[in-house]
């Protein structure tokens, strides 16, 4: 690749042809403000805040979208640039409904940061002090407030390109432009899958989750309620970012302590149920494989995972004909809730009506999942409130707790015990790896043939990953699997899921088991995680998750003794009738429109 000579702020550099001015600036640590630019998304060049001066050109150039040329002479400061950027920030504020002190993005808003950076002390055009456009409050998962939108189109790109959904688009023209939904219908009525990647990419308070914190406080404050909390694996590797820790810091113990201090009556761990999910799902897979190989019946394969509710809704809209392929297992969040309000309530002699079941999730779609009609019985919901990592951080601060100064605590028993296999659910490939660690051993009696149980082929951040595992020297009752090469696939980000499932639909893809995570990176990159999100942060969180797995003494779901006890005491066998009643679910075909 050819290298070009370029001058930047008076200093000569050599840079690869095809690079943009912004890439060079970032490489050299030269600050250029951006707004519509995002490492996850293709370049738009529409906010114009990143403009720089290029000698010989009358207009300023957007550094994000201008490739360097031989001999280019660039200035990132200077009076033209300074005045122009300041005016642009003022223009954005002039059309922005400003209620910073009560906005969910207060102190983390990128528009605020720009206003601060450009030292605005007065606005030539008055900012708006009232909403002129109705908010979209149709969704139980998130709120769309176009009054705060800066039209950076990051949400549109995230929804269309990262997620392959396309529920959001520009409507109208000029200063009447708004980010609208397909057919301008309420977002809850169209193909939105609730993944929250739009929320995760929004620089202002225009998009944010529907907060449930106040409802949870109300339950905690109510002495007649038993408030139980479960936390997903992804939280412990990201919550610290909201308290100043660098990405990739594990705060598991501090989190447990904080939850107890907040007043939850029981602090359990979603990871317990993740181990449970693996037992159910691994046996379900073996059941399907047997039906296909031995009975030669027309069973749906490949089987796809079912713990990611954004993915479930995606399938329901875009691939309803492939719903039979989806595992019938509920997600760990929902398996947990079901057991909590039946087995656990029964053991404790607690009336399920008195239990308020709260989950902390890296995910916005979990709010939708918790409210699905299948998720409960006799009018009792298995999970009453799902809050995001961000909401938990807010609540911890509201309680006056400084997470950084807490001693490490631990989860309560019995629903707090878990294994390393459960922890890796947070990363793309984690569910697959956990399932393989169990399925392989169930079938052969031996551990998976990978050093330290680390199944490298299913790890990593590439959008679609494949692996093949030879099943040999099996236990007698699995003789029908002898010599079978188990083909598995992992994909994350629903745009990649679309590619994979289209190939499945068209018969171009042969595989036995496919893990799909809605969000890029898996749950650790979920729509409810600390912001802003970047590929680097996701990698740091993944490192933390695998490190946490490595530190567990027990790293296989089938060795979780508390889970084993649930079977012997209550459920019977994996996939038993009772297990199906409580831990499995159904799906609903939905249209595209």
């Amino acid at each position: 690749m050819k290298e070009l000579n370029v001058t930047l702020n008076g200093v000569a550099y050599r840079v690869k042809e095809g690079s943009t001015i912004l890439e060079l600036c970032r490489r050299e640590g030269i600050h250029v403000p951006t707004l519509c630019d995002h490492p996850d998304l293709h370049t738009k060049g529409i906010c114009r805040i990143c403009v720089v001066e290029v000698k010989g050109m009358r207009t300023l150039q957007a550094s994000c979208s201008t490739p360097v040329t031989e001999g280019m002479d660039i200035n990132t400061t200077g009076d033209k640039v300074r005045r122009t950027r300041k005016t642009i920030v003022e223009l954005l504020l002039a059309n922005h409904y400003t209620d910073c002190t009560v906005c969910p993005k207060n102190l983390s808003c990128e528009l605020q940061r720009l206003a601060d950076e450009y030292g605005l002390t007065e606005l030539r055009w008055k900012e708006r002090r009232e909403r002129t456009v109705a908010r979209d409050l149709s969704s139980t998962v998130f709120v769309r407030d176009n009054n705060k939108c800066v039209l950076c189109q990051r949400c549109i790109r995230a929804c269309a390109d990262l997620q392959g959904v396309g529920a959001l688009a520009n409507l109208w023209k000029g200063d009447r432009t708004i980010i609208g939904s397909a057919f301008n219908r309420p977002i809850a009525e169209i193909v939105c899958i609730n993944c929250g990647q739009c929320v995760a990419h929004c620089p202002t308070g225009a998009l944010h989750e529907r907060p449930a914190g106040d409802a949870v406080w109300k339950a905690i404050d109510d002495p007649s309620k038993i408030v139980v909390v479960q936390t997903a694996p992804a939280i412990r590797a990201a919550l610290g970012e909201e308290f100043g820790y660098p990405p990739g810091t594990r705060v598991t113990g501090k989190m447990a302590t904080a939850l107890k201090m907040m007043g939850f009556d029981y602090v359990f761990d979603t990871q317990f149920a993740a181990d449970l999910t693996i037992i159910e799902e691994a046996h379900e897979l073996l059941g399907r494989l047997k039906a296909a190989i031995v009975d030669k019946s027309d069973v749906a394969l490949p089987m796809t995972t079912s713990c990611s509710p954004g993915w479930i809704k995606f399938q329901e809209h875009f691939f309803p004909e492939l719903l039979p392929n989806v595992s019938s297992c509920k997600s760990p969040q929902q398996m947990f809730g079901a057991l909590l309000k039946t087995w656990w309530a029964g053991k404790r002699g607690i009336d399920p009506d008195k239990i308020v079941s709260v989950s902390v999730m890296p995910c916005t779609a979990k709010k939708y999942e918790a409210a699905r009609p299948e998720m409960g019985r006799d009018g009792v919901k298995d999970v009453d409130f799902a809050i995001t990592t961000r909401e938990l951080a807010t609540m911890i601060k509201q309680a006056g707790i400084d997470l950084t100064n807490l001693p490490d605590g631990s989860f309560d028993d019995p629903l707090g015990e878990s294994t390393g296999a459960a922890t890796i659910f947070a990363a793309t490939g984690g569910v697959m790896e956990a399932a393989l660690r169990t399925a392989y051993e169930v079938v052969t009696g031996r551990e998976v043939p990978f050093a330290h149980l680390d199944i490298a082929p299913v790890r990593g951040m590439e959008g679609v990953r494949e692996a093949s595992i030879l099943i040999e020297k099996v236990k007698p009752e699995f003789s029908w699997l002898e010599g079978v090469v188990l083909k598995v696939l992992v994909a994350h980000g629903t745009a990649n899921a679309k590619t994979v499932m289209t190939a499945v639909k068209e018969g171009r893809l042969q595989a036995h088991f496919i893990e799909i995570m809605t969000c890029p990176g898996g749950c650790l990159g979920g729509g409810g995680q600390p912001l802003p999100v970047t590929p680097e942060k996701r990698r740091a969180r993944a490192r933390a998750i695998y490190a946490e797995d490595g530190d567990f003494k027990i790293r296989k779901s089938h060795e979780n003794l508390a889970v084993a006890h649930i079977y012997s005491d209550f459920l019977g066998e994996p996939n038993s009738h009772k297990a199906h009643e409580l831990l499995h679910t159904k799906y609903t075909a939905r249209g595209r429109y």
Binding site: R48, L60, A62, T87, L91, V150, L151, G174, R176, T177
Partner: protein, 389 residues
């Protein structure tokens, strides 16, 4: 005195120029166009030969687009060309296709000109019957040119070439980042030449008469003739063809504008307002350029109303993509309306001039970059009229 010319609307035997072009190599066709110094007639004035050469250099199947989205207020010359000489334009597109290696083309016709659709398509069919376009151009087995007509939907911004391509691809019609330029990556990623109707209408004549003939008209920098669509306070509004270099005063005399002409808007809403002090300047790329629109205002006209009309137009037509133009057009209009309510002042003008600077420096495309042109020129020459509106 600049000469009146009759090239664009003159009769031309259908096929004569294409036959001559096909007998040349594509590189030779491009050389003639380059040599002629022909520059785009839509307003931007990019050298046509360079554009064609850039597309050819990509070495991939290209696409030819005729930009018939004539939208600049006061421009009505492309309409006339399409009414009277569509055949010439179509033949020119085939010549371009031959030169750049295209097998597909589109005429992107302004939505408001939809009444011309049937006639143009009839002409297309007639020319296909003559073998000038279609699956086998002039009987050649290796040259096909599939031409289609597509309608716009009433968006001024789609006259900008990348927005036009966006619209052709069934998208919103928003301008795209340049680079890559359409000749490198245009319609569906193909190298794409987007040329104005008038530009295309001149090419067959250049092919037949030679580059030197074309350079004989006009000035050294602005070769050839230009159509002007003149409207406003004059006795003879209409379409005129003059060589480049004609002065404003000469033009005003030709169209019989009165002695009370106060201002001439050259280049439409995105152009420059000329006052009496400017009347000896030439209309050319090196003087005051225009895509053709000439609007004459006499003493009775309020320059404030003219300015307001232009800024209202831009606020309506902005695609809304980029911050400086989307927000700037609205703030500019709001500022101007203050004068109507007696709330204007020199400070307001100065704030608007700063806003204008930001728009001209930082907008993503030529639309936002040119919005300030009329504002700045009208304010600088008629400040008193604005202040006392």
């Amino acid at each position: 005195m600049a000469r009146k010319i009759d090239v664009v609307f003159s009769d031309l035997e259908p096929g004569a120029a294409l036959k001559k072009a096909v007998a040349m190599s594509p590189d030779d066709i491009i050389a003639i166009v380059k040599d002629s110094n022909l520059r785009g007639r839509g307003g931007a004035g990019f050298p046509t030969g360079l554009k064609w050469e850039s597309a050819r250099r990509q070495g991939r199947t290209a696409c030819v687009v005729c930009n018939a989205d004539e939208g600049e207020p006061g421009t009505f010359k492309d309409k006339r060309i399409l009414e009277l000489r569509a055949a010439k334009v179509i033949e020119s597109m085939a010549i371009c296709a031959r030169a750049v290696g295209a097998s597909r083309g589109f005429i992107y016709l302004r939505g408001e000109y939809s009444y011309l659709r049937k006639e143009i398509e009839d002409t297309m069919r007639r020319l296909e019957g003559l073998g000038l376009i279609g699956p086998s151009v002039l009987g050649a087995s290796d040259f096909s040119f599939d031409l289609k007509l597509r309608l716009g939907s009433g968006a001024y911004v789609c006259g900008e070439e990348t927005a036009l391509i966006d619209s052709l691809e069934s998208r919103r019609g928003e301008p795209r980042n340049k680079p890559p330029f359409p000749t490198e990556h245009g319609f569906l990623g193909m190298p794409t030449v987007v040329n104005n109707v008038e530009t295309l209408a001149l090419v067959p004549h250049i092919i037949l008469n030679g580059a030197e003939w074309f350079r004989d008209f006009g000035t050294r920098t602005s070769s050839g003739s230009k159509l002007f669509s003149v409207s406003g306070d004059c006795l003879k509004p209409g379409i005129y063809e003059f060589e480049y270099g004609i002065t404003i005063r000469e033009l005003l005399k030709e169209v019989e504008a009165g002695p009370e002409t106060k201002a001439v808007q050259i280049g439409g809403a995105s152009g420059f307002c000329a006052s009496a002090d400017d009347f000896d300047k030439s209309i050319s790329f090196e003087g005051i350029p225009t895509g053709g629109s000439i609007i004459v205002f006499d003493r009775t006209r309020s320059m404030f109303k003219v300015l307001k009309n232009f800024v209202e137009f831009f606020q309506e037509e902005s695609c809304g993509q980029c911050t400086p133009c989307r927000e700037g057009c609205s703030r500019m209009l709001e500022g101007i309306l203050k004068f109507e309510r007696g709330e204007g002042s020199s400070k307001v003008i100065n704030d608007l001039l700063e806003l204008a600077e930001t728009m001209s420096l930082a907008s993503k495309c030529g639309f936002g970059q040119s919005v300030p042109n009329s504002f700045r020129t009208i304010v600088s020459k008629f400040r008193d009229e604005i202040l006392s509106a």
